[in-house]
Point group: C2
Chain length 314, copies 2
Amino acid sequence: MQVSAPEFSMIARHFRPLAGPEGLDLLDDAALLTPPPGAQLVLAADAMVAGVHFLPDDPPETIGRKLLRVNLSDLAAMGATPLGYLMTIALTPETDDSWLAGFVAGLAEDQAEFGLRVLGGDTVSTPGQLTLSLTILGQVPPGAALTRAGARPGDDLWVSGRIGDGWLGLRAARGEIPDPDGALARRYRLPEPRLALGLALRGLARAAMDVSDGLLQDASHLCRAGDCAAVVEAALVPVSDATAPVTALVTGGDDYELLFAAAPEDRQAVLEAGLAARTPVTRIGRFTQGPARVNLTDQMGADITPAKLGWSHL
Amino acid sequence: MQVSAPEFSMIARHFRPLAGPEGLDLLDDAALLTPPPGAQLVLAADAMVAGVHFLPDDPPETIGRKLLRVNLSDLAAMGATPLGYLMTIALTPETDDSWLAGFVAGLAEDQAEFGLRVLGGDTVSTPGQLTLSLTILGQVPPGAALTRAGARPGDDLWVSGRIGDGWLGLRAARGEIPDPDGALARRYRLPEPRLALGLALRGLARAAMDVSDGLLQDASHLCRAGDCAAVVEAALVPVSDATAPVTALVTGGDDYELLFAAAPEDRQAVLEAGLAARTPVTRIGRFTQGPARVNLTDQMGADITPAKLGWSHL
């Protein structure tokens, strides 16, 4: 956390309580972490820009937590458990003390919920958009990590939770659709990383990833990595709102559910893993022979694949 | 590296060659790294914003390298050796293929020079300034890391290289001062992380950090962490340009030299460490009893401490 004289005390006062001894109180050039003996490290990084990945008027309490949860979701997809994180923040001149206090309070809540602490970071100023970047560290036993590669023709395609909350949540947060209890907007702002499910799927899922860019697009990544095709049955997808257009929900992104392949003989084991992790899991299709592509079919088996499979960050 | 369909191939084509097997070809949710047995991990993160930390028209070849070197300098200050890094980039709509090609070519050069590879990252779009964030991982034998805490009254204060290149380099890059062979601008754009010296100072320096915010300000951090005071003798500081005002050079920042404390009985050993690391080291002052503060003195011993000790990022 390299910040300079006049602002040092303000930033440090907010962030230092988030750090543990391995973060050296954020006073040093770097953090010192002794990794658990024998573990493999899992490392992921994501960035968020105000107006692109979150709404500029989102409550400060949720902004850092969203980025942390998006990164925790990457750990979940690998079957990893969290060790810590580093965060850089490019602050705008408008960012004041009360915004920082809220931002840090939100992070503190999630640090407690997910059992990790900040290890370090950097705070700089920007004349542009508030921009956050987070690197997360997790661990897995050697060889136990789930990866995107490994799906085979004949495998089932599964998804956790519900698909569409991210897309509906964004619309709700923008005031475009009704959201009387705020539950949808909350899902958009605070996705639920499926860490327990990722753990339970170690040794069971043949391939896994999290749904960030849209169910169909992310399924196509599993196809590419496994060199096979996939069929998703629209009627099987657990959607958030049966009245919303299914093609919007399966391409909408920001769901942060786990999408994974498992052998058909492991159906019961997968359902039990979902129960153990208290996370619903639903079989929504299968992998097939053929060049890497994903097709969405309706109840009659007709192809209803949309032209655009997902959401683009750029 | 989470990027989406249409741009995926462009970004991936540029970045994938930078990754090794531990980066899973940047195709997965995260990287998998087996840490060297018994090592402690050293972790640091820094961010840079166009127009704040580098000039928007700096050559793309130098921009990523500067951020990488700033982070490598954090490892050097801890006596650590590099393991890998993750980088997030918020690209502006103006960033084109040739800019990316230059950016990645610069990184490739430094990856080869410093012996590390990219482990992962994220590429997003921003309507604001080009913004980069980098997290670096390094390693040290357990307990061998140098930290900012440890300077004691009576210790010598040392610095590597020359002080002022960063400040003069920025002015040269802006065209404000002559720089016939471009050497000063190059120093600003491509600082030299003192990794070999950091290694050589393990077990020898009692406290260390790198000079990023200005020699005096960073010396005050060593004082605070060591609960002592320090005196810097202006005439001893190895400055880049004897005709420039010394107070500008010792408060200018961006030098990325190592600033460290060592016992007076180790003077010869420190000089030998500098020789072994092919890095000049100069004794510039001493730590004293008293509340944490730094004083700059002239050759007569008179106090010439400037009001502002360094450079502020915010």
